[in-house]
Amino acid sequence: MRIGVIALQGDFREHLELLALLGWQGVAVKEPSHLVGLDGLVFPGGESTTQCILSEASGLRQPLATEVRSGLPVLGTCAGLIMLARTIIGGRADQWSYEVLDVTVMRNGFGRQVRSFEADIAVRGLETPMRAIFIRAPVITQVGEKVETLASVRYQFVDGASREVPVVVAGGSIIATSFHPEVSRDPRLHELAFTR
């Protein structure tokens, strides 16, 4: 198994380490020539605005748009979820995404860094909970008909309201999370994304 990890900015190293743990070959993708012969792609955490700019500047935007629409298995975490989402709330005016996952996400929807948190989350299909690390995480506010919710949390938001929101979703060949399984070194969603 040969999985590319978009390595422009963010925590791509943690993803590469998890792939190695699974005995797979991880490829750091920094330019279009690195996209050859991949069995899957990971969009890591980081700053989505920066990743947008660097994807354009590196000539990766168009080739990646083709790859993610081709049915290639894809995993996106946090900023990676934003990069894949159909609609972004709270982004920059010129912020774009690959629009291949039919969800609406609100950037930093859980609040600023002081509200970043970790929690045990039950994920459908996994026997034991995941330790989920949420860092200025995006909130999934809307899920399309063909998108499945694999995990959700009930959370007290800054506005005082308590709402249940999806935090792991699957649509077509794509799985995406609001949190960082790579930071807690849990490879089970990587396994699920690339072997299901």
Binding site: D11, E47, S58, C78, Q113
Partner: protein
């Protein structure tokens, strides 16, 4: 499900630093600069009243910035906003935490408030970054709760030589500790005036600092950014180097691209072409004040 949420854990604090890796954090003094930084692809901005080059020129006591300025910048950008407190000034830090600043820099660029103690950073939910000139200093800051270490360099000079010295010192000791015998680790703890447990942790994990290591202090060109990344920095703080240059927007973008593609000379050449004037640098011998000597 009823989940239990833990905020402000070491992993959550270090986690944000991990998300900033491969990026550039830019010093900005107003909303306009903050927007230029975000447009250029900064991963975060450091909100302050004066960049280090001006602090150096003006002299006097440099303090935490006006909360109104920090608030304006928080409202203007979607990326994380950091702000500086004086070394040991936990009251300034309490204010920044209440303002929900994303990272606090306990910084030698401001005038120290306490000559004996740095802030007890475990007492805060918001993460801290601290400067270091060597590994011992880095580990003392980590033991106080710092979630991110940056080289001090010599801020406001546009001269990268001190940052290079600090990074080389830190990474060379990390390599030596990885290779040391168990017995020698006690000697390393003594030599570094650092907690044994942190030294042992570095040895066990193959020579990595327990938190990310970024570079700060003197980066002025894309080539500088590449140099320090190749020397082991995982991201770059750029202060005076951008907004004291001839074309800040273009230089900011160039340093962002250089930090990502630091191993690719072709990209470095492309982004360095026709970049305009770099900030005028200062030679170390010409300095009357070495900011890196502040703190211990």
């Amino acid at each position: 499900m009823a989940a239990e949420f833990s905020e402000g854990t070491a992993r959550v604090k270090r986690g944000l630093a991990e998300m900033l890796r491969g990026g550039v954090i830019m010093d900005v003094v107003n909303v306009e600069q903050a927007k230029i930084a975000e447009d250029a692809g900064a991963v975060a901005v450091m909100a302050l009243e004066r960049v280090p080059a001006d602090i150096r020129r003006d002299g006097g006591v440099a303090r935490m910035s006006d909360p109104a300025l920090i608030r304006e910048i928080q409202d203007a950008v979607t990326i994380p906003v950091m702000a500086k407190v004086r070394i040991g000034h936990f009251a300034e830090a309490q204010m920044l935490e209440a303002m929900e600043v994303d990272y606090i820099d306990e910084s030698e660029v401001l005038t120290p408030a306490d000559e004996s103690y740095h802030v007890d950073k475990w007492a805060f939910q918001v993460p801290f970054v601290c400067g270091a000139t060597n590994l011992g200093e880095a580990l003392r800051r980590i033991s106080e709760g710092a979630a991110l270490i940056r080289s001090k360099g010599e801020a406001g000079t546009g001269n990268v030589v001190e940052a290079v010295r600090h990074l080389r010192s830190i990474t060379s000791d990390l390599r030596a500790i990885a290779a040391a015998s168990e017995q020698e680790l006690f000697g390393w703890a003594k030599k570094l005036s650092a907690p044994y447990d942190l030294v042992a942790e570095i040895h066990a994990n193959g020579g990595h600092l327990p938190v990310p290591l970024f570079c700060a202090g003197g980066i002025a060109t894309p080539a500088d950014a590449s140099l320090v990344m190749q020397l082991g920095a995982e991201a770059n703080f750029v202060g005076s180097g951008i907004f004291k240059s001839g074309d800040p927007a273009k230089r900011a973008r160039a340093i962002v691209e250089a930090t990502t593609h630091y191993q690719d000379p072709k990209v470095l050449i492309r982004v360095s072409e026709n970049l305009g004037e770099a900030m005028v640098g200062i030679e170390m011998d010409a300095l009357d004040q070495h900011l890196a000597e502040r703190g211990w």
